[in-house]
Amino acid sequence: MDQIKNELTHKSKASKQDVRGRTIAFICIAVIMLVVLSILFMITSRGLSTFIQDKVPVSDFFTKTVWNPSAVDANGHYLVGALPMIVGSFSVTILAALLATPFAIATAVFMTEISPKRGQRILQPVIELLVGIPSVVYGFIGLTVVVPLTRQLFGGTGFGILSGTFVLFVMVLPTITSMYIDSLKSVPRFYREASLALGATRWQTISRVVIRASVPGLLTAIVFGMARAFGEALAVQMVIGNAALLPHNLLSPASTLTSVLTTGIGNTVMGTLPNNALWTLALILLVMSLLFNLLTRYIGRKGGLK
């Protein structure tokens, strides 16, 4: 009796291990949380100090078009109009997504519906390879191929939003495609059967049922692609021309939030306005990625309800 009582009231080896495992997991999570929260705090506090410490009006920051943080205008206001970069970032992102979407749909449909075997064997590795190429390589190819080509075909210097769009198109294509493939694969087989049994051809089944049923997945894929395009720095910086001017057409040199950050970060002094202004750009990037994240969740929830 005593022995059984003793065994029941004392922690067994297994439950001790259980506690130990849980403690280790909690510590790891706590470290990650700490890192994430401090990053958020740092970017937010630095980013906001442009407005709080240096008294730059928020409206000026988002609507003025002259970006020269180390100088002041005739009235003594800092020249920190971020509109050109915001416009640049959004236009390359949206254009690249628009351009890539039809190609991504076609590739994904081919790989899942039309020729799954060849798709798996040939296209899958190609797409994985495209994801794995470092962005500096894309930028380099952009610089030596896309920029001269744009210059010859459309005129101008070749540096500009159009070249940035082309480079980003290649970079987001595999992201959108592989995510959309997953979404197509999750369309239940019985939708296809039901459609075929009603006398639909294979193409009618793909276009009217499979693609339609996977629209939420497609939107999520596009948003992910846009998030990648929005955050891409190096490749875009190499081909966009890096002129912090409001672009008046697709061929004029422009800049994005990320390209201004990467070119400017080494030339400013901590705590001064030029540095703080860059932190504000980083804050915008952070907020945007948060928004993209929320958007995919929203689409996922709406799509899930259907």
């Binding site: 039901a194 049994a197 009603l198 006398g199 639909a200």
Partner: protein
């Protein structure tokens, strides 16, 4: 009596393996024929070969003949798309598309290029009424078909088949995923449909076959053991295996 589909010495192979061993069976017009048998007896496989849904499975070969309105459906000249428009199918799991009820029902008509809104509206109402689901759906036609219960979804699927006005409807255990109340509603629907359509139904449920079918065919291990008027078969089966199955000795 006129037969809509006639299978003669029909054999089906999965690769090398023969799964159906020479089936001879005819489906009389405007009658319900039940295909009975234990799991793996080949009854669903047989049903799915009547509108060539087995084409979707690789490595299936079929010999013998299956004639629909006198035409061999496995002849190279046969247009599968047109065949499936005339021989509709209802599946075991309710499988409405994730669209609105209205869009589900008009799917087949849209495939044929029907654009006339009035005709579409009229067919939607007719079909949903025939499938006995009009009262529940008439105020929610624009809502997703997936927001309805399993039994309602299955009747929407039946309406979807009826909308294209096929000659024959194949039902692959249409009530096995449903509760008894929904099942009995679908059985009532089938009895109504008999006036305009020829129905073949695969079922596990012998009582269901007894309640609704005019003819019964008993499958076992890929053979058609016996086919008879349903009353005849249930009261006085000819083959011992049929009798054993009906008495619950196996299956």
């Amino acid at each position: 009596m006129e037969n809509v589909i006639t299978a003669e010495n029909m054999r089906l192979y999965y690769g090398e393996k023969e799964a159906l061993h020479g089936i001879n069976l005819a489906f009389p017009k405007n009658q319900i024929t039940a295909l009975l048998g234990p799991s793996g007896s080949g009854k669903s496989t047989f049903l799915r070969s009547l509108n060539r849904m087995n084409d979707l499975i690789p490595d299936v070969t079929i010999t013998g003949s299956v004639k629909f309105e006198g035409q061999d459906i496995y002849s190279p000249k046969m247009d599968v798309v047109n065949l499936r428009k005339r021989v509709g199918m209802v599946f075991q799991q309710p499988n409405p598309f994730p669209f609105s009820v209205y869009d589900n029902v008009i799917y087949g008509l849209k495939l044929e290029g029907v654009k006339d809104k009035k005709l579409l509206d009229q067919r939607v109402e007719e079909s949903l009424k025939q499938a006995a689901v009009w009262d529940e759906t008439k105020d929610h036609l624009k809502e997703s078909a997936l927001s309805f219960s399993g039994g309602q979804q299955q009747r929407i699927c039946i309406a979807r088949v009826l909308a294209v006005q096929p000659d024959m409807i194949l039902m692959d255990e249409p009530t096995s995923a449903l509760d008894p109340v929904s099942s009995s509603k679908i059985e009532d629907t089938m009895l109504e449909l008999k006036n305009d359509y020829t129905v073949a139904i695969v079922t596990h449920n012998m009582q269901q076959a007894a309640r609704i079918s005019d003819y019964s065919a008993f499958f076992l291990n890929g053979d058609l053991i016996e086919t008879e008027a349903t009353q005849q078969m249930f009261v006085n089966p000819v083959q011992e295996q049929t009798s054993d199955f009906l008495n619950g000795k196996f299956g």
